[in-house]
Amino acid sequence: MQQYSGFGLLKHSLSHHENWQRVWRNPTPKKKYDVIIVGGGGHGLATAYYLAKEHNITNVAVIEKGYLGGGNTARNTTIVRSNYLWDEAGRLYEHAMKLWEGLSQDLNYNVMFSQRGCLNLGHTLQDMRDIERRVNANRLNGIDGEVLDAKQVNEIVPILDCSDNARYPVMGASWQPRAGVARHDAVAWGFARGADMRGVDLIQQTEVLDFIIEDGTVTGVKTDRYGDIMADKVGCVVAGHSGVMAAKAGFELPLESHPLQALVSEPIKPILDTVVMSNHVHGYASQSDKGDLVIGAGIDSYLGYGQRGSYPTIEHTVQAIVEMFPIFSRVRMNRQWGGIVDTCPDACPIISKTPVKNLYFNCGWGTGGFKATPGSGNVFAASLAKGEMHEIAEPFSMFRFHNGALIDEHGAAGVAH
């Protein structure tokens, strides 16, 4: 096994980098696995990694129809935070945050997790009530957080327009110092490498066409390249395509897949050192280590698998960015793109058993998927390994949409009186 280090780089540079080993193999699948993970994105790869590492289950295949980490992992704005309101969600995302904090070392792969802090701005009295409520809940749940006033916000981000002239002046913010960003592709690659090292087969460019289900129990999957591959358990982690896969297994999910767009500016010299998010004005921005302003746009209202959304969504976002950061008016937008997010009615994920025995789904992350990657994989792996849902995953059953135990993370709607 090839360990990565600065010394290794030096050594390899002497041999013109000709002797680096493959990061992962390109195996032909076996006939049968203990566990098949459908979907080789961040969450699927993390699941495989933790199955191998923490549960010693290495007879595992990850089947990916495209390339590893090519879905939403490749398309998000890389924000990592855990300041969610409800106990259940806070626990899940904080579990992820703790894993993020040692992830580069654990994986021996630098995922460039940068804890530069995240501001969630408040522009109305109700925003501030919600912020206070969330931060209080976070602190009692052991999640770091502070409530800042406008002046404190401006000290952290001097380029933010915190004046009274703004249409919706900044009244304050919640501040999670441990939040930040990570190098999204590296997360997928790091988990993939870690899983592969431990014997997991990563099967790329192979589409799962259907599940093999006998007497209500899943026994394997049908693939386009390798035919039937059998498994004791199947975990489906396909984000935007979860609804499509569920239909193959014969059930519906409380999901809709929508386009979620993002954009980046041209690279500019470092000027924004933290993550700034505003739900009210609808702008989310951070600056990458390369210098791009990374900006998240809103979810389009319609169902869409096209990895592109409507232009007005981008316009509104850019208006918000110029409103928040008037100095960026002359900076230029380089590129925009879209992902497919599977959104749940309560803006929380589904990590769940399904009506089909031994078939598990991990989906519905909406806009919150990337930040949860290690935590999601970790609890999903534990659930698959034991056949019982991990206690952190338990509340996220799909059946909560029957009994009513929703975990509504939309937050309070705008004040109405």
Binding site: G6, R129, N141, A186, E266, S329, V415
Partner: protein, 1005 residues
């Protein structure tokens, strides 16, 4: 300084208009018609930047949108700084101030360059991922250094003084690109009567013809262009947009065009003009005539200044009258690029040799070169170049016929310029934007637009038709096809004659072999801006990054501001070679908008600053302004928040407003409440279905409060609805919820219950609503009306039509404060009149205006909820202790009934709304504080519910709060604790949410 590379004549520059500009603090001169790049080259400036990762000296490579290196900082003042301007696309103007974006202390003497030289070896692709991990605590320090190297140009630090604009366009045909194909397409479509928009990113129309020596229609190419442009401009159905980049092609034939109106005049738009305009265009048909970009070849040290794309060299000579060097070596895989050597030679400078990678080049252009005495070295390639800040010589070696290896000895030639051509890549970016997958064409040696669902036509080089005659022909064809699809009749357009030589077959070569293996050869750059080399791509593939998307992401190829216009195909070719597969097997390149970067300001347009979002005003807004109101944003409304008097703090103002209302009389502008006029014989039935309570028996003249639920049983809005007549109701909603509620009613009516005879019309804006509240409110009203408003004839929850201050009004005796209250509604045009009359007469009662904050306090004292503040989409009426507002035995299963009976909604220990009294009456809990039963429990400490409303009650002389507590309704009198952010733990008692006048006697007087 003289323009040493400027020709005495020729080109499209105006030598009578010299312009001075500065680059890196030094003054230079150019001419009108120059780009910043051509002017720099004219002045012999070789070095225009340092590369991102290795800090290698870089020069200008191309002449258009594909330029990766010449990325400048522009701007004479702080506020007008523009980062990352592509010098090849920036027109020169007098006083232009530019500088290189990288290099410290200067681009000439860059310290990082040394680091790049030494450290470069240790920085293969992905090196970040392999290091800086240990110890964990050091990452932040490492990152600080990594971050220092980030970025190209810098953002201005002051606000933009310019304005931007947006315009919506509709066209029958949008033609993208005004080269030969585009011009003929536009001409044809326009003659056929179509509404046409033709846009081109350059300052002049003509595309390739602008630097062409061909004749078209028997005249100089540019003269033919001018005649077509004139015809188009004269046609009122045609919009001609130069300096306008079609940067995005979106669904259903929607395009965005970025027009630069003043960027070529000054760095600040003169006289308040619009700097840039954004066109949002809906096209019936789109003709993509976007041309092609020449591909440079990938060879050793191909980034040394002086290495250029062949066609760019010709463009500088023919269009700008600039020869960017003295001794040229041209390397080509095709005939086309021979023109560059010929142009160079004809400009009077020396062509050392044409190095043709093909064994036996033949053809008219080859002959033309040979006739000029230019040496053609066939079957060979430039495998690397010498020099650091400028090319000093090249190494030429014979290569195998398939281009895979060097087959003979290396010969050195002296040269200061290397032009290379590996063929042309069609500009298919826009076609890709809509999700269409490009298709590799072996003959074109490039990707062509793939299948599309858009109404899209293509013409010219985008189809791999690289000659002018072909482009013109296809342009006409596209124009005719568009006319046919539009149902317009065809027109006769003659395709002008051209003078062109036939070309022989090009060779498929992308990556030039070297005597050493790629990993050991001098760096062969594929993507200049991100320092991606052929060796880097090979390494990525070797490590298992085999998908082209992996290669791109691992090496950052194509992620620069040029988005891989020059490099992507070469990179794919390198990957394909390593992986031993074809280019199409390796993958396609998917381009996303924007084609070239767009100013944020232009995308925002006028929807910023004052116009970012509408401010909605009531009819009395001016009064509020004049009386010093502080405003609260409620949705888009500006509502008075409170009315401080001089020297008053907010709390003092609130105390005064509250006491005045409870003791005498206060007045609230309630106009923002949503109001819906509902008529129809089934109105009553409809109300019964959308509200949780009963409406069947509400008599005419009465009002009733209602809760509106979603199907899941959770409260989403509330308000009072009044029965105006048997089939006529007036519904009020929350201010923020008005639109949502109307939409909700229409949705259920139109999609579920169309059989119900009921109509809804919003009257929110029609009525001005003012609420007078307090013990003296009846007296005040009596002064202004003849109607009998006495206790017995105008009861609580009655409404009456009457005249108030001479204005016909509907007055509702409803109360949100718990006091005797009257809600006066008048046609909004009279709002100000009645408001002012009330103050005239109310002075003796000390009539006090109050805003939303006092309204909140007064209602909280009464335990009334605010939907959206005390509800969050997760509480049903029983959670709120408002079971009285639910009628479970209505015949129709109203919206929300089934939902609130689900398992989780009926369990014990749900969080329920109660009153909260702090033990210390002086402590006002923060709204959002979280309650716990055991404040000594370890973290995570179990929480039992939050405070949703909390105020200082001047009337009660203590703090009050509404909040949620698990099982709270059964825990009256029990303790709950609030550990606050500041470390305090506030002890409180659970109580009834009604703090004042529990029997409701004050409103019933």
């Amino acid at each position: 300084m003289s323009q040493k590379n400027r020709l005495q004549s020729g080109g499209r520059i105006d030598r009578s208009k010299p312009l001075t500009f500065t680059y890196n603090g030094k003054q230079y001169e150019g001419f009108a018609g120059d780009t910043l790049a051509s002017a720099l080259l004219a002045n012999g400036v070789d070095l225009i930047g340092r590369s991102f990762k290795y800090s290698r000296p870089r020069g200008i490579v191309a002449a258009g949108a594909e330029e990766p290196n010449a990325i400048m900082q522009l701007g004479a003042t702080e506020a007008t700084q523009v980062p990352n301007v592509r010098a090849t696309q920036q027109e020169l103007f007098s006083g232009l101030v530019s500088s290189a974006t990288n290099g410290w202390p200067s681009v000439e003497n860059d310290v990082m360059g040394l680091v790049g030289k030494i450290g470069g070896k240790m920085m293969p692709p992905g090196f970040y991922y392999k290091t800086f991990m240990y110890p964990q605590s050091m990452w932040e320090t490492y990152e600080t250094f990594i971050r220092k190297a980030a970025g190209l140009g810098r953002s201005p630090k002051e606000y933009d003084p310019d304005i931007y604009d947006k315009v919506n366009q509709h066209a029958d045909v949008v033609v993208v690109g005004a080269g030969p194909a585009g011009l003929l397409a536009a001409q044809t479509a326009a003659r056929g009567g179509a509404r046409v928009i033709i846009a081109d990113e350059q300052n002049e129309f003509g595309g390739s013809l602008l630097s062409s020596k061909e004749s078209v229609d028997g005249k100089a190419a540019h003269a033919w262009v001018a005649s077509v442009v004139k015809e188009l401009e004269a046609n009122e159905n045609v919009i001609v947009l130069p300096r306008s980049t079609v940067n995005g092609y979106h669904d259903h034939n929607f395009l965005t065009i970025h027009e630069r109106l003043t960027d070529h005049i000054a760095d600040r738009a003169p006289n308040g003009q619009v700097r840039q305009r954004y066109h949002r265009v809906r096209a019936k048909w789109v003709v993509l005539a976007t041309g092609a970009h020449e591909r440079p070849l990938v060879y050793g040290n191909n980034d040394v200044p002086g290495c250029m794309v062949a066609n760019a060299v010709s463009t500088y000579i023919n269009r700008y009258g600039v020869v960017p060097g003295n001794e040229l070596v041209l390397m080509t895989t095709n005939d086309n690029a021979y023109r560059t050597a010929i142009d160079w030679h004809d400009a009077g400078r020396k062509v050392q040799a044409i190095v043709d990678t093909r064994k036996n080049p033949t053809g008219a252009l080859v002959e033309a070169a040979r006739e000029r005495g230019i040496t053609v070295i066939a079957g060979s390639a430039v495998i690397d170049v010498q020099g650091s800040k400028r090319v000093t010589g090249v190494s030429v070696a014979p290569i195998s016929e398939d281009g895979s290896k060097v087959t003979g000895s290396v010969k050195k030639l002296s040269a200061d310029t290397v032009a290379s051509s590996g063929g042309w890549s069609p500009v298919i970016h826009l076609s890709c934007h809509t999700g269409s997958k490009p298709v590799w064409n072996e003959e074109v040696l490039g990707f062509l637009p793939g299948k599309t669902v858009q109404k899209q036509l293509t013409a010219g080089a985008i189809n791999g038709t690289f000659n002018t005659a072909g482009a013109l022909e296809e342009g006409k064809k596209a124009g005719l096809e568009a006319l046919e699809k539009l149902g317009l009749s065809a027109v006769e357009v003659a395709v002008p004659a051209t003078t062109e030589q036939k070309e022989s077959k090009p060779m498929a070569l992308f990556h030039v072999p070297h005597t050493k293996p790629t990993s050991q050869a001098p760096k062969q750059f594929v993507d200049y801006q991100n320092d991606v080399t052929a060796a880097g791509i090979e390494l990525a593939c070797r490590e298992g990054f085999e998908s082209i998307e992996h290669v791109k992401r691992y090496t950052a190829m194509g992620f620069g501001t040029d988005q891989g216009k020059l490099g992507n195909i070469n990179g794919m070719a390198v990957a394909a070679k390593v992986l031993n597969q074809s280019i199409p097997e390796t993958g396609t390149t998917i381009f996303r908008p924007n084609y070239t970067p767009i100013t944020f300001g232009a995308i925002a347009g006028r929807d910023c600053k004052d116009l970012f979002d509408p401010e909605r005003y009531s009819a009395m807004h001016k009064w509020h302004l004049e009386h010093g109101a502080k405003f609260e944003d409620v949705g888009q409304w500006k509502r008075p928040w409170y009315f401080p008097k001089a020297g008053e703090s907010m709390q003092q103002a609130l105390d005064r407003e509250c006491l005045a209302t409870r003791e005498s009389i206060g007045i609230l502008d309630a106009s923002t409440l949503g109001k819906i006029d509902i008529q129809g014989k089934d109105a009553r039935e409809f109300l019964g279905r959308v509200y949780s309570n009963a409406w069947a028996k509400l008599p005419v003249g009465k009002c009733r409060y209602g809760l509106m639920l979603k199907e899941d049983g959770m409260v989403f809005d509330d308000g009072v609805t009044s029965c105006l007549a048997e089939n006529h109701f007036l519904m009020t909603t929350t201010s923020g919820g008005a639109a949502t509620v109307l939409n909700w009613l229409e949705f259920y009516h139109q999609t579920e219950w169309p059989e119900l005879e009921v109509y809804f019309t919003s009257v929110t804006d029609h009525w001005a609503t003012m609420t007078i509240s307090g013990p003296n409110s009846r007296k005040l009203l009596e002064e202004l009306t003849d109607a009998d408003v006495s206790k017995d004839s105008f009861k609580f929850m009655d409404w009456k039509p009457m005249t108030v201050a001479g204005v016909p009004a509907r007055v509702f005796r409803i109360s949100f404060t718990g006091e005797l209250s009257f809600e006066i509604n008048v046609q909004a045009n009279y709002g100000m009149h009645v408001w002012e009359k009330l103050f005239e007469h109310g002075e003796k009662y000390d009539l006090t205006p109050y805003g939303t904050e006092t309204m909140h306090i007064l209602r909280a004292e009464k335990g009334f909820i605010i939907a959206g503040q005390d509800t969050d989409g997760s509480v049903h009426p029983y959670d709120l202790g408002m079971g009285w507002a639910v009628s479970m035995n209505k015949p129709f299963s109203f919206i929300g009934k089934r939902g609130m009976q689900r398992e989780d909604c009926v369990r014990a220990e749900r969080k329920q709304m109660v009153g909260i009294k702090t033990i210390d009456p002086n402590i006002v809990l923060p709204e959002g504080a979280q309650g716990v039963f055991d404040p000594t429990a370890p973290i995570p400490m179990p929480m039992v519910g939050h405070i949703s409303s909390s105020y200082w009650s001047a009337c009660l002389g203590r703090s009050i709060a509404l909040g949620f507590v698990k099982g709270g309704l059964d825990k009256m009198g029990e303790k709950v604790y609030y550990p606050l952010v500041d470390g305090r733990i506030v002890e409180a008692e659970i109580c009834s949410p009604i703090f004042l006048d529990p029997k409701g006697e004050r409103q019933n007087v």
